[in-house]
């Protein structure tokens, strides 16, 4: 104890200030143990790994700009007359929320910029999460041990949608008010409790005088708070699991190859934050977004044409637009299926992709950890499922803009609606089949490359006149990379008679799993990768092609 202290005091004065501060902090917080395992932590490099960073940085930007907006925004629906500097709206009645957003846009210097950065960052945040999620999906990065982190990420996406929606509604302008009305109509369609939910949410009849204040606390406190927690948990897990990597020379399931956090990754990632922020600021400088002054304040009896939500809500818009207007009346009640079914499908579309990792791990029965990423072609069924899901989503997005398609391309809206209705069921199936075939084709090509080498582009004429293309053999790095992926065998139903000769019942779930496994890994679903024997047989007889 005393020796410790004396050595500490001896060091004092000599060591650089930074080191002394760090020592001080270590004595209280134990930061060195943390830094030991993390400061030189290895991060693999791949362009697609930056997508998650885009999300993180846009979230930070959103928080910074959001806090600024709260300094000026008044979440109140009291009606006031506008006297700001935007002439066309002067004298008009509007809620204080709208009035203060006008104030931010026209009278606070730089306020418009911050508003536009906030909104653009929100769009990029959600787009980033969508693409990031697809990257994780198509490379199989969601497999054990990362299933929980997949769910965290998914929740962030869903909460992000609702945070975006509530924020979009805050200025109380004509466009967003129409979106809120849409939501109220959808809530009313819920059987038994819908009317009550609507009255509780809006503090009475729509629009009432409460929803902006309520959405405000949801938007700036509740949802961002939850998201911040999830985000931190997400990042801690990324650190803890260590990043995945693609197969390649020297990269195994037991190591992680890349560059250390300090300095390379920190400089790149830190720099990337500024790049993202810079780009968003520039976008906000040149591209106007949500110009509430041209829409005017919300009035329940007025509407602007071409009313569209932000993109991430577009697929719900599609659902509601193409659904036939079914209404069933019985015993003095109304079942508003035309609105309620879309309201139920909305989360189902999202959940379909969220639960996928658990389905896949059930089908494979694989309990091992996976740190090597799949190339999408090497998991054809998964890839096909993902593409089918995206197709589904896109079909609904198209449906959400049916009026825009109609006016821009001079199509009949009726035709588009029917197209979307049919495509809702058919397009994912077609996409599934087509994707699977493409994946198998690519697998076949990889196999050819391994066995016969790469096409060199050099044409050679043989003595008897035939032309052939010279194939160059692949390097061992390439051979390894192209054959490193694993291939499952379909799970067969185990013996139905046990060692005592007693017949065992085969449960339905077991049969289903065997069937799914066959669909995933049967002969039609993967091209067996080249074996060493095949390779040797072909390469030993050089000159044949």
């Amino acid at each position: 104890m005393s020796t410790n202290e004396s050595s500490e005091s001896r060091a004092r004065g000599k060591a650089p200030a930074g080191e002394r501060v760090a020592d001080w902090a270590d004595g209280r917080l134990g930061i060195y143990s943390l830094a030991k395992s993390n400061m030189r932590k290895i991060f693999p490099d791949h362009w697609s790994f930056m997508l998650g960073e885009v999300c993180l940085y846009s979230f930070i930007i959103i928080i910074l700009t959001g806090v600024y907006l709260t300094l000026f925004f008044h979440p109140s629906m009291n009606e006031v007359e506008y006297h700001g500097s935007y002439v066309p709206l002067q004298g008009q009645l509007m809620s204080e929320a709208f009035n203060s957003t006008m104030h931010i846009s026209f009278d606070v210097r730089g306020g418009l910029l911050i508003r536009q950065i906030h909104h653009w960052a929100a769009l990029i945040f959600l787009a980033g999460m969508f693409v990031h999620m697809m990257r994780v999906f198509f490379t199989g990065a969601f497999r054990k041990p990362r299933e929980v982190n997949w769910l965290f990420g998914f929740l962030l996406f869903v909460l992000g949608m609702f945070t975006g929606f509530t924020g979009y509604s805050l200025p109380d302008d004509l466009l967003s008010g129409t979106g809120v009305r849409f939501m109220e109509g959808a809530i009313l369609s819920v059987p038994v409790v819908g009317t009550y939910l609507s009255f509780f949410l809006f503090g009475g009849e729509f629009p009432g005088g409460d929803f902006v204040a309520r959405f405000y606390s949801i938007h700036v406190l509740l949802l961002p708070g939850i998201m911040l927690g999830l985000l931190v948990a997400h990042l801690i897990l990324v650190f803890y699991h260590k990043h995945t990597q693609f197969a390649g020379p020297g990269k195994t399931n037991n190591n992680v190859v890349g560059m250390p956090l300090l300095p390379v990754y920190m400089a790149k990632a830190g720099g990337f934050f500024f790049l993202v922020f810079g780009v968003i600021a520039a976008i906000a400088a040149i591209a106007s977004i949500n110009p509430i002054w041209s829409m005017g304040p919300y009035r329940p009896d007025q509407v602007s044409t071409g009313a569209q939500p932000d993109w991430y809500m577009g697929f719900s818009e599609g659902l509601i637009r193409v659904m036939p207007g079914w209404e069933i009346n019985f015993w003095g009640h109304t079942l508003v299926l035309g609105v309620f079914i879309p309201l139920v499908i909305f989360p189902l579309v999202l959940v379909a992709i969220a639960v996928y990792p658990f389905i896949e791990s059930w089908v494979t029965g694989d309990k091992r950890e996976h740190h090597i990423l799949d190339r999408p072609r090497n998991a054809p069924t998964r890839t096909a499922f993902g593409v089918a899901w995206i197709t589904w989503y896109m079909v609904l997005l198209i449906g959400g803009g049916n009026d825009l398609w109609a006016t821009h391309f001079h199509l009949s809206i009726n035709a588009i609606t029917w197209f979307v209705r049919v495509a809702f069921f058919v397009a994912p199936v077609l996409a599934f089949v087509a994707t699977k075939r493409i994946c198998l084709g690519l697998q076949r090509r990889d196999k050819d490359k391994v066995l016969h080498g790469r096409e060199s582009g050099i044409i050679k004429r043989l003595p008897h006149g035939e032309f052939i293309e010279v194939h160059e053999p692949l390097s061992q790095e390439q051979l390894h990379t192209l054959t490193a992926h694993e291939q499952y065998a379909p799970a067969a139903i185990g013996a139905t008679v046990d060692e005592n000769g007693v017949e065992r019942k085969v449960k339905g779930a077991e049969k289903l799993r065997a069937k799914l496994s066959e669909a995933y890994y049967g002969e039609e679903s993967q091209i067996p990768k080249p074996t060493v024997e095949e390779y040797k047989e072909i390469t030993s007889g050089h000159g044949h092609h």
Partner: protein
């Protein structure tokens, strides 16, 4: 069946799973050759190239500083209501444009500098780090399970059922208080959605002019919006009332009205319908005078105003409610009662 039952041979070869680094040999041409040797960049070999990189990075950081100065200068110097023309964007707010671009540049240059620094001057040698299994080794697992069992035993929770059950009861009940507290979020719906402000004798007031309407004000082919007499924009409840009471009025040749009740409830071919779409409640705004169709701009529900406003296209589930109208002693259009069904989107209690 649990996944443990899957026979081992269905799982990919074990050796793949453990990723043992094989040595390239005749036996396995696909074996992992190991990390390729590090290749040097120009900057690693040529100090002049390295110095050029250094200058580039420093220049980017300087650009950032200048841009920040530019930001401050714009903030101070540019009036906040000045508009400029920028090709190809058009007329935009000068201050927003200048602030955004200078801020964007200041940030971007820092980022570009840092990334360039990392790429050209910091070591780019790839290193391998080991991974360790996420799950705990068996001894740890056994220890934790044993500890838990010990703790559970000492609590006697399993043995003293009475304590356990009452505790679960208490924990399950107390959140009910929280649920109760939500009750006053809003009033109960009652029959509020069934009624609007309209009642017998209220005049129809033109939304645009704020004057009561005479039949002669409603021309064939025009679409007029109306509100109940006595409802003014400054009223406390204006938004909520207009959300239900908004009317649209058109005049149709009486012989062209196909629906019998519609004709009865009209006045000389003037019909008044709720303006609020029965789908999810957007206000309807487009009128096609030849066909007497109105279109909701939100999801394109189309209603035939000459035939009881039934739905002819789109996701709406039922016709628009009609308001029965007549003319009072002074010759103004008036309501002959409230709507006889709820306006706007359908709901469970609508029936």
């Amino acid at each position: 069946m649990s996944s443990q039952d899957i026979p081992e041979e269905n799982l990919p070869a074990e050796q793949d799973a453990h990723g043992a680094v094989g040595v390239a040999d005749d036996k396995n041409p696909f074996a992992d050759p190991g990390l390729p040797p590090h290749e040097h960049r120009v900057q690693d070999i040529d100090e002049r190239a390295a110095r050029r990189s250094e200058r580039t990075v420093a220049m980017l950081f300087t650009v950032s500083m200048l841009a920040t100065v530019g930001f401050i200068a714009s903030y101070v110097g540019i009036p906040h209501d000045k508009s400029i023309f920028v090709f190809p964007i058009g007329h935009i707010n000068a201050l927003n444009f200048a602030l955004g671009l200078t801020l964007g540049l200041a940030l971007f240059a820092i980022g570009a500098g840092a990334v360039h620094w990392a790429r050209t001057l910091m070591s780019d040698e790839e290193v391998a780090d080991e991974r360790h299994p996420i799950e705990a080794p068996p001894e740890v697992r056994a220890k934790v399970h044993a500890d838990f069992k010990q703790g559970a035993k000492e609590s006697a929770l399993g043995r003293r059922k009475l304590i356990r059950n009452t505790m679960f009861g208490a924990l399950a009940l107390f959140p009910l208080s929280g649920v109760m507290l939500l009750r006053d979020l809003g009033p109960l719906p009652g029959t509020k959605l069934r009624h609007t402000m309209w009642r017998k004798g209220l005049q129809l007031v033109n939304m645009n002019t704020n004057e009561p309407l005479r039949p002669s004000d409603v021309a064939v082919g025009s679409l007029t919006f109306a509100k109940p007499e006595g409802l003014e924009e400054h009223d406390e409840e204006f938004q909520t009332e207009i959300a239900k009471a908004a009317l649209m009025i058109v005049r149709i040749q009486p012989d062209n009205i196909k629906d019998k009740r519609e004709l009865e409830w009209s006045y000389e071919g003037i019909v008044a319908y709720s303006k609020i779409c029965t789908h999810v409640g957007c206000p309807i705004s487009l009128y096609e005078q030849q066909t007497h169709h109105v279109l909701c701009p939100c999801h394109q529900s189309t209603f035939d105003l000459s035939d009881g406003a039934r739905v002819i296209f789109g996701p709406a589930g039922h016709a628009l409610p009609q308001l029965r109208i007549g003319v009072n002693d002074q010759g103004y259009l008036e309501a002959l009662g409230d709507f006889d069904e709820p306006v706007g989107p359908a709901f469970w209690e609508r029936g």
